[in-house]
């Protein structure tokens, strides 16, 4: 019952006007009265009735068990509360924490603007909201009666539950024309959560760093250093949404959407390496080495690319591009600045792709501009990564905990995706050598468990590296994740590639497209669209697989919860509390990702054609 409701609800998309949506709705089914509903769905025959009773009893027992576990006075929830900073960023210095908030605020700002530009959110009928609230309130009342609360707590929670039920009852009979935006609902929920930080005495857990450490747990609301930043974060998100809706009418929307997409891709790198890591740039070295290298590559590269994109360059251009690629690989055999190797390889890539973008002068100039923009970003990034950080932390790496889980996940997704597409293309290629290399790679990686690859990369690979080359454990395991996920994504993409019919290939050839153009503009867009559901499944799996980092001893979210906090004298025996918290965070994130992917599938119209 519930699921059919939500499906019909999802069909009312903000993209289509309400009128249109109404026309697309399936014919209405007459509503059943509660007793009829119960009979039809739960007690239709003897066997079903027995099943209903048994499973209800089982569910109630499980809820009761969970609640009495969570609210048991023996639970050391202060272990999780006191160590929240450790869980989130490990040892990021407290006086530099403003950097964490700035990064988070910037991401929320981007989120707000993007929500406005893509007109996210849909209209939800108030009666539906009422129904959900009714269910929620009833659940709270039920849970309160089951949980081993003190009388006072029972009364408070009963009042809360009954209040929610009341609001639900008020909203339920409202007319179906009355709707509210899902974004309003969401921000309302966040507002309530943040207000509760200011009002409800969650307790103030803090830690005094001295040679004999002290844990302070005071009653009252949470510390100012927690509630104030979160309030600002909320305001930033809401204001940026309104700013976005205000601005989007006044400027070229397609262009700004493209700009936003690029910002989304680049900003995590900049936030991580420039804001959070705060590199301590050496001006002299910067001007003596990095800037000249940047200028050399931008100028020589621009001239070369301007020439290569001429429509009449022909075979000569390809030979030169291939030569640059060869030089790019050859640089790894000699001692050389890493930045030179990387830039040579990127130049080779641009040179090889040049024929696809050949054309009139404006197009050629635009291609060159893209090259210079890539140079600016890359050089800055490489220099920043190679500069020592000012964030002084006791550990090996400047962040840990949940932040490192997110960081490795982000790098894996951003880098495994293009690698996976390349592997899939190679595996379906006409050249036997590409096919062989790619098939061997994919089957080999898929045949080995991820944990084996991780252990190999964290323990063995550093021993294989030549003298003078050094790879931190974090970089090594990120590469391990990338190649593992790329192999799986490649198989997903290959499935999509096979769904593109021969007719599409022939049509593309008929209009005179080159192989590269056919692949980039005709085949891949269709293939990727088909591959969305399995790829999202893979992305969620990847996020959960980051938990394996704990086994190789990297201070990730799970390792800190499972081994580090129970290793503190004050919090021995607090593993279960911490693990419950970690699972909650994983659950919320994976569930949101899966919901978001359902919406994307609807948008691209999968399963409806």
């Amino acid at each position: 019952m519930n699921s059919t409701n939500s499906t019909s609800q999802d069909l009312i998309n903000s993209d289509s006007s309400t009128e249109l949506a109404n026309n697309e709705l399936p014919p209405k089914v007459a509503a059943l009265s509660p007793t009829e509903w119960l009979k039809a769905n739960l007690f239709s025959n003897t066997f079903n009735s027995i099943l209903t009773v048994l499973s209800t009893a089982a569910i109630l027992l499980i809820i009761r068990g969970l609640l009495s576990f969570i609210f048991n006075p023996l639970r050391q929830w202060s272990a999780t509360a006191t160590n929240m900073r450790l869980l989130m960023t490990q040892a990021y210095p407290e006086h530099q924490y403003v950097r964490v908030w700035v990064s988070l605020g910037f991401l929320l700002f981007l989120t707000g603007i993007s929500l406005a530009f893509w007109r996210a959110g849909r209209r939800v009928q108030l009666s539906q909201v009422g129904k959900r609230l009714l269910i929620l309130g009833a659940f709270i009342v039920l849970a309160t009666l089951l949980a081993p609360f003190s009388n006072r707590a029972t009364i408070i929670w009963l009042i809360v539950g009954i209040l929610i039920v009341g609001i639900g009852l008020l909203l339920k009979p409202s007319h179906e024309d009355k709707t509210i935006s899902s974004l309003t609902l969401l921000s309302g929920a966040f507002l309530l959560a943040i207000l509760s930080l200011w009002v409800i005495p969650y307790g103030h857990h803090s830690y005094l760093s001295t040679r004999t450490p002290k844990i302070l747990a005071e009653s009252g609301t949470v510390a100012m250093t927690t509630k104030l930043p979160w309030t600002i974060m909320f305001l930033v998100a809401v204001c940026s949404y309104f700013l976005g809706s205000f601005v989007r009418e006044k400027i070229d929307e397609a262009k700004s959407k493209a700009l936003l997409s690029v910002t989304w891709l680049i900003s995590p790198l900049f936030l991580l390496f420039l804001v959070l890591r705060d590199p301590d740039f050496d001006t002299r070295h910067l001007f003596s080495t990095d800037v000249p290298i940047f200028l050399f590559f931008s100028i020589v590269g621009s001239v070369l690319l301007l020439w290569l994109t001429k429509p009449d360059v022909g075979e000569k251009g390809r030979v030169i591009s291939a030569a640059i690629l060869f030089i790019g690989f050859a640089t790894f055999l000699f001692q050389m600045l890493m930045i030179v190797r990387i830039l040579t390889l990127v130049l080779a890539f641009f040179a090889l792709a040049a024929p696809t973008f050949s054309g009139q002068k404006p197009a050629r100039i635009r291609y060159t501009k893209v090259w210079i923009a890539s140079m600016v970003i890359l050089c800055w990034l490489i220099t920043a990564i190679n500069t020592p950080s000012t964030a002084k932390v006791p550990g090996d790496f400047f962040i840990g905990g949940f932040a490192i889980t997110l960081m490795i996940f982000f790098f894996t997704m951003v880098l495994a995706f293009p690698l996976g597409v390349l592997l899939a293309l190679a595996r379906t290629s006409k050249f036997p050598i590409f096919r062989m290399i790619s098939t061997t790679f994919i089957e080999f990686i898929r045949g080995v468990p991820l944990i084996t690859i991780l252990i190999f990369f964290s323990v063995m690979v550093p021993l294989f590296l030549p003298d003078g080359m050094d790879l931190t454990e974090i970089a090594a395991v990120t590469i391990a994740f990338i190649i593992f996920e790329a192999a799986y994504l490649a198989e997903n993409v290959r499935g999509g590639l096979q769904s593109v019919t021969q007719g599409q290939h022939e049509a593309a050839e008929a209009v005179g497209m080159t192989n590269a153009q056919k692949t980039v503009f005709i085949v891949l867009p269709q293939a990727l669209r088909v591959a969305i559901p399995p790829m999202v499944g893979q992305i969620i799996a990847t996020f959960k697989e980051t938990g394996l980092l704990a086994i190789i001893g990297i201070f990730d979210f799970l390792y800190i919860a499972r081994s580090v906090i129970p290793g503190q004298t004050q919090f021995m025996g607090s593993t279960r509390e911490n693990l419950l918290f970690v699972s909650l965070v994983y659950l919320v994130i994976c569930f949101s990702m899966s919901k978001a992917s359902q919406r994307v599938e609807k948008r691209v119209g999968l399963g409806e054609r």
Binding site: F357, W371, S374, I385, L415, L463, I479, I560, Q568, T575
Partner: protein, 367 residues
């Protein structure tokens, strides 16, 4: 058209980032010539000399610890590392660099600890590591003086009939729980086999998990190093139960101390004498609170704390190196009491009392 270029930019960036990730950690030379052909890559200083010189040139000590061992090396809520082992890392830093805070802690798992020393990731390993013959010879480590004499014991419930005088014979049919993949597993099986009793061994991945098993009643006996048993009893014994530790003489010897790569005498001397200095200072009752300049003492203390006749400069340390250790970190008792008293471990009457009080903590003379 715009989106086409945006896509291209995106692909270019990702490729660049792949390359950057692979090379991000390579040492980049501050090349003198700005040309692209300047192929100067700085190779890490090849250690012809001792690790001591490398550490002093670097200015930070890289110390390998566990990071999640109660009272020995705990990672605190703000990310700092405290504990008995961590304090000895600080002591070595104070001796070698003059600053107890010039330490970079690296948390290591049991399986990666020796590789970390061999690959040079850490200079010294102070990670409750037992000194054994195979590690000393086969694995290629050298061991410093023992800082803590531990030994494996067992713990049961008084309600199950166990007392402090229980022995192997009482274990018949018991479910014994311990950490997976450690020597405790082997020790307790050997112990039961020698006594000819049958036990069921249950192992868990982390120590907190098998303690949960013991508390929940899934295990009759819990076994690990005695220091951990005492800590758990103090912190986790429910009010209505009585846990007992037995046998009085541990079933294994677990001498724990600093560990470093083999055949580097100069570095070994610096680490060893840091430990000895804390012990000698303790013998004289000189502690963090009352330590004065070396010249204010006579004899052994005068030499040790940097007064006339000091021997530290010949070791490649500064004359007041051990004065700094006592002032910044403390003597053996300071370090022990600060970290181990909170978990119920006291020096008196244990193997870790000074040799004059019947314990095993002993240092060669400083002269």
């Amino acid at each position: 058209m715009t989106s086409k270029f945006v896509k291209l930019l995106a692909v270019a960036l990702t490729i660049g980032v792949v390359a950057a990730a692979c090379g991000s950690d390579e040492e980049e030379a501050p090349a003198a010539a700005p040309a692209t052909t300047a192929a100067a890559a700085q190779v890490e200083m090849v250690a012809d000399g001792s690790l001591l010189d490398t550490v002093q040139a670097r200015g930070t000590l890289h110390c390998g610890v566990s990071g999640s061992a109660v009272a020995f090396s705990e990672t605190q809520a703000d990310g700092s590392v405290t504990g008995f082992d961590a304090d000895y890392c600080r002591a070595v830093a104070a001796a070698v660099l003059g600053d107890a805070d010039a330490v970079k802690f690296t948390a290591l798992t049991a399986s990666e600890r020796f590789t970390a020393v061999q690959s040079g990731d850490v200079d010294v390993l102070i990670r409750n590591t037992t000194w054994t013959q195979s590690r000393d010879t086969d694995v290629g480590m050298d061991f410093g003086p023992t800082t803590y004499y531990d030994g494996q014991q067992l713990m049961g419930r008084a309600s199950d009939g166990f007392t402090a005088n229980s022995g192997a014979a009482d274990l018949e049919g018991a479910v014994v729980c311990t950490n997976a993949g450690t020597t405790t597993e082997k020790n307790v099986s050997e112990y039961a086999k020698l006594a000819g009793v049958n036990i069921t061994l249950k192992t868990f991945e982390t120590s907190d998990e098998y303690w949960q098993g013991f508390i929940d009643g899934a295990c009759d006996i819990s076994t690990t190093d005695g220091s951990a048993l005492v800590g758990r009893k103090v912190k986790q014994q429910p009010a209505d139960e009585e846990w007992v530790i037995f046998p009085a003489t541990p079933i294994s010897k677990e001498p724990l101390g600093p560990t470093y790569g083999q055949n580097d005498s100069k570095w070994a001397d610096a680490v060893n004498w840091t430990v000895y200095a804390t012990i000698i200072a303790d013998e004289y009752g000189v502690n963090q609170g009352n330590v004065g300049a070396g010249s204010s003492y006579e004899g052994e203390l005068q030499r040790l704390l940097g007064g006339d006749g000091e021997l530290q400069t010949t070791m490649g340390l500064s004359a007041d190196a051990f004065h700094q250790v006592i002032k910044q970190v403390g003597n053996y008792s300071d370090i022990y009491n600060r970290n181990l008293n909170p978990v119920g471990l006291y020096r008196d009457g244990s193997a870790n009392a000074g040799w004059k009080d019947g314990g095993l903590i002993y240092a060669p003379p400083a002269r």
